[in-house]
């Protein structure tokens, strides 16, 4: 009986316990759909998702930190309102919809970037430093970076505005420092908070890329998850969710620890 081979005849709690026990020894079981070990599929997918999420967060940070600082210096002015408006749109756009729109524009209408997949047909390994491969990354990264752009911009704006309101900035001005030097101080004080948010966003993207990966058929954990849901491939589903949760929690923990290390005031 198939049921017996997979242990489905036992109560769910027992099944879960057995599965957890095996996971601790590194055995995630076999995929029901492909018959291959879950670990093998999972870790290949994980590498692909990390590439995507890291790329998106770095891209988002480079843009958002600049415009966020810009807005933080001009709180209340029209340019600040424009930036805040962009940030609101960033967090409000359904990214799966943006993915479709980007595909329509760049793949269908302009035909300059590939719509789906990872690397040209027949290529064995993915090399992001080669243009032929790299162009497959562009649209997914733009799509995924949208929400982090919105959130990091908001955080930077309020962090910079807050630092500018502190007395030490006034002191620096009184000492006759150049605005550029003051900017350096402001950035240094605002940065830890922004980096923490950036780290959190990385965790979110790792777990939340399912929709975007599905649209771009990017072979990462999200795509794997979607396939597993459709085929009811339980071992893959469980294993992927567990690993993603562990990554998410670990990221948050590391950020917490780093933050207390940087800013001793947070220690109670």
């Amino acid at each position: 009986m198939v049921k017996k081979a997979y242990g489905f005849d036992k109560p769910i709690a027992v099944q879960y316990g057995i599965w957890l026990g095996k996971v601790l020894t590194g055995d995630f079981g076999m995929s029901i759909a492909t018959g291959r070990p879950v670990t093998e599929e999972l870790f290949r997918a994980l590498a692909n998702t990390v590439m995507l999420s890291a790329g998106a967060v770095i891209a988002a940070f480079s843009l958002a930190f600049v415009i966020g600082t810009f807005a933080g210096y001009r709180v209340g002015t029209p340019s600040d309102r424009a930036v805040t408006g962009i940030a609101v749109i960033g967090v409000s756009i359904p990214n799966y919809w943006l993915a479709i729109v980007l595909v329509i524009i760049f793949a269908v209408e302009l035909n300059v970037l590939p719509a789906t997949g990872m690397g040209p047909r027949g290529s064995e390994t993915f090399n992001p430093f080669q243009w032929d491969h790299f162009k497959y990354l562009i649209l997914p990264i733009i799509t995924l970076s949208l929400i982090p752009i919105g959130i990091i911009t908001r955080t930077t704006r309020s962090a910079v505005a807050e630092v500018l309101n502190q007395d030490f900035v006034e002191t620096l001005r009184a000492k006759g420092l150049m605005e550029a030097e003051i900017l350096l101080h402001v950035v240094k004080n605002a940065l830890p908070q922004v980096l923490a948010v950036m780290g959190l966003q990385f965790g979110y993207l790792m777990g939340g890329s399912i929709l975007v990966e599905t649209i771009f058929t990017w072979p990462g954990t999200g795509f794997l998850l979607n396939k597993a849901i459709l085929t009811r491939d339980l071992p893959v589903l469980q294993g992927t969710i567990l690993i993603l949760a562990i990554i998410f929690v670990t990221t948050n923990l590391v950020i917490d620890l780093l933050q207390t290390a940087v800013d001793p005031r947070l220690k109670r």
Binding site: V88, I89, V91, S92, I93, P94, Y96, W97, L98, I100, V101, V103, I104, V108, E109, G203, Y204, M206, G207, G208, I210, L211, T214, I215, L225, N226, I229, L230, L237, I241, L244, A245, F248, V249
Partner: protein
Amino acid sequence: MSDATVNNLQPKASEVAPALKVRSYWQTVGYRLRYDYMTLFFGFVVILIILSAIFAPLLAPMDPYQSSMLNRLKPIGYKDFILGTDELGRDILSRILYGGRISLTMGILPVFIATVIGGLLGIIAGFVGGRTNMTIMRIMDVFYAFPSILLAVAISGALGGGIFNGMMSLTLVFIPPLCRVAETATSQVRNLDFVEAARATGASTFSIIRVHILGNVLGPILIYSSSLVSVSILIASGLSFLGLGVTPPEPDWGLMLNTLRQAIYIQPVICALPGVAILVTSICFNLVSDGLRSAMDVRM
């Protein structure tokens, strides 16, 4: 002490103060909102969107389920199809109007239920403290191990598709963060002297929560839950997009986006339309929530 001394000590009931128009907290918030034209405008749009979903049967020019093999994937303005037709020849405008009913319900109802349940749990945890707090908050922490989309997908995946299961999973996703917000707000208020003073009058726990705690924590909870509506709409249509929420042939914005995706090479503009509906709704809810936040940020 003689009567004369007593009379001297009797304070005169006349501390100098002009008669002020006294406004309660919520009146102040309303007053501030009345002059926030941005928020008023987007609030108006939100109401318009909700009304058009409610009155979809009156507004929709056609039957949203009526398919036609002849009129498949027609462009905007083709014949009577103001926004064109989908892959089964159904009128897109009618389907977007009807789709609002499901998409908005899936956006608002889970947040509402989660606000009630999560808020209540948070208030209890924050007020009672001790072991009760530990138990409730540690259970909530388990859910924090997952990003919200992943959690929604995982729960829906486990429960199976369908509108009801989709809403259920969204509710479960939103309970922990709301519980945490309520708990934080409550434990801050709980340590203030007026709660201690209320206990000193011999008031029951229930009375203290109802009279003294609720009025002080409702603001932060409502601000937070209003910001969740747009998140909920996005995740709900995301679930439908993955085939985990609404099932065909029901009209739903996320599901429409999914089925139309096959046609991007034929009618690219039409394929993007349901997404515009999601985007506009989500932006409006976000901006209204922002306006509410700044209006409620009164130091009192």
